[in-house]
């Protein structure tokens, strides 16, 4: 009799354990749907202040803007394979006249006649590469700050040779003359002479 009761109790415990296991597995299966683990890396930069280093008045009159993209690369020969760094640099060369270079009485007006003597058209700013727009195109191997600096200088040379041509300077000068003439006409002058310093 006692044996039978014990058997019944064991059976009940086993049934309860089975039910508990089934419930646990069911819960696990339900919970399984929401399970996800991934490795996360933050790709944004931190918030840092912008410091104004200098402010100055300038008088640079731009008449031709040459936007440039240059693909520049450098190769380092290795024993088994070559290392290569390829970047795309962006820059805008601005051609025009620097009003700080004008001479005294560069505008002389008498009645409806005006004579304007402008300084030579040239590159307004020697710093024209927007290096923070640079795109990394290809990189193999390890490259130092000096290598990147050399690449920047190479891009600068290429942009100068492509954009600072006689033709572009001539176009800028012609456009400068047109705009100054138009401006003087707007100011009420009828006889306008525009010349450039040699």
């Amino acid at each position: 009799m006692a044996n039978k009761e014990r058997n019944n109790l064991e059976l009940l415990v086993k049934a309860l354990m089975l039910v508990a296991i089934i419930i646990f597995l069911w819960w696990l299966l339900i919970a399984e749907k929401d399970n996800h683990v991934s490795v996360e890396v933050d790709d944004g930069i931190n918030i840092t202040p912008e410091q104004i280093q200098s402010i100055r008045d300038i008088g640079q009159w731009e008449f031709l803007s040459i936007s440039n993209e240059e693909l520049v690369d450098t190769v380092r020969k290795g024993l088994f394979s070559d290392d290569q760094l390829v970047r795309i640099y962006y820059g805008t060369l601005r051609l025009g006249i620097d009003l700080s270079k004008t001479k005294k009485n560069w505008i002389s007006a008498h009645g409806d006649t005006v004579v304007v003597k402008l300084p030579k058209v040239g590159l307004l700013d020697k710093e024209f590469i927007d290096e923070t727009r640079t795109k990394a195109f290809y990189e193999s191997g390890r490259w130092t700050a000096r290598d990147r600096e050399a690449l920047y200088r190479k891009a600068r040379r290429q942009m100068l040779s492509h954009a600072l041509t006689k033709q572009n300077l001539k176009t800028a000068e012609a456009n400068a003359e047109d705009h100054v003439r138009q401006m003087m006409k707007t100011m009420g002058f009828n006889n306008i002479t525009v010349t450039f310093e040699k």
């Binding site: 919970a31 399970n35 683990v37 991934s38 490795v39 996360e40 890396v41 933050d42 790709d43 930069i45 931190n46 918030i47 840092t48 912008e50 410091q51 280093q53 200098s54 402010i55 008045d57 300038i58 640079q60 009159w61 731009e62 008449f63 031709l64 803007s65 040459i66 936007s67 440039n68 993209e69 240059e70 693909l71 805008t92 601005r94 505008i107 002389s108 007006a109 307004l124 700013d125 710093e127 927007d130 290096e131 923070t132 640079t134 795109k135 990394a136 990189e139 390890r142 700050a145 000096r146 990147r148 290429q158 492509h162 456009n175 138009q182 003087m184 707007t186 100011m187 009420g188 002058f189």
Partner: protein, 235 residues
């Protein structure tokens, strides 16, 4: 092919010949320039220079502002997710990377004279002149990454910063500088600076300094007009 050609009717032959002639004409006679290139076998190296865009303009840059910014990035690797309805956010050991990139940027404010016309000038009979100028615009004209001063720290289980990652952080730094332009007050400085540049010019044209006024006209964009209309309608 010749067998099939001989078997064709006269009309089919005519159509086929016409199509062949048209095809040959289309390939060879599109333009003289292309023909010249083909005959001379000239090859042009277009790899070094991708795009060069030339644009005529008339912009008077009046103010230059030099900005310095140190772009920093903390690269922490975390194991994130959900396991058995429990949120997981574990920082992986020795997986930190840090980089600081010093950037120098030049901002320039300019007055666009491209559409300067009689509408911008108001003259009175008593010798007074008012020049109406459009609002100055600001442009990031150049930027330079101080490569020598870049500092980076890389955890033992992490790889170094790649060129692609570095340029991405630099681009974000550039965007942050552009976003900060309204706070820098360069537009107001440019307005005063433009007056300092233009008044001596107009003086040389025969006007007395006290008779010269430089005023600014806001260039209303469709968005501004809509805003204006919305305000008016609310009232």
């Amino acid at each position: 092919m010749f067998f099939y050609y001989s078997q064709m009717t006269k009309t089919t032959k005519t159509i086929l010949l016409s199509a062949l002639i048209a095809l040959v004409a289309g390939c060879s006679g599109s333009d003289g320039e292309g023909q010249g290139e083909q005959s001379a076998y000239q090859s042009v190296d277009t790899v070094p220079m991708l795009i060069m865009q030339i644009q005529k303009c008339s912009r008077l840059y009046t103010t230059e502002m030099k900005i310095h910014k140190i772009v920093t990035h903390d690269d922490v690797v975390k194991l994130q997710g959900q396991l058995l309805k429990q949120n997981i956010d574990i920082k992986l050991p020795m997986g930190d990377r840090k980089v600081a990139i010093p950037i120098d940027a030049t901002l320039k404010a300019y007055i666009d004279f491209s559409d300067f016309s009689e509408r911008n000038i108001e003259r009175t009979t008593d010798g007074k002149i008012t020049i109406l100028l459009p609002d100055p615009k600001v442009e990031l004209t150049s930027s330079k990454v101080n490569q020598q001063e870049i500092r980076s720290f890389v955890g033992i289980v992490r790889s170094r910063f790649t060129d692609e990652e570095m340029t991405r952080y630099e681009q974000q730094g550039r965007e942050a500088i552009i976003q900060s332009i309204p706070r820098l007050g360069i537009v107001d400085m440019a307005k005063a600076s433009a007056a300092r540049t233009l008044i001596p010019m107009v003086k040389q044209m025969g006007y007395r300094e006290e008779n010269i006024t430089i005023a600014y006209r806001k260039d209303f964009k469709p968005f501004d007009i809509r805003k204006f209309l919305e305000v008016r309608s609310e009232k």
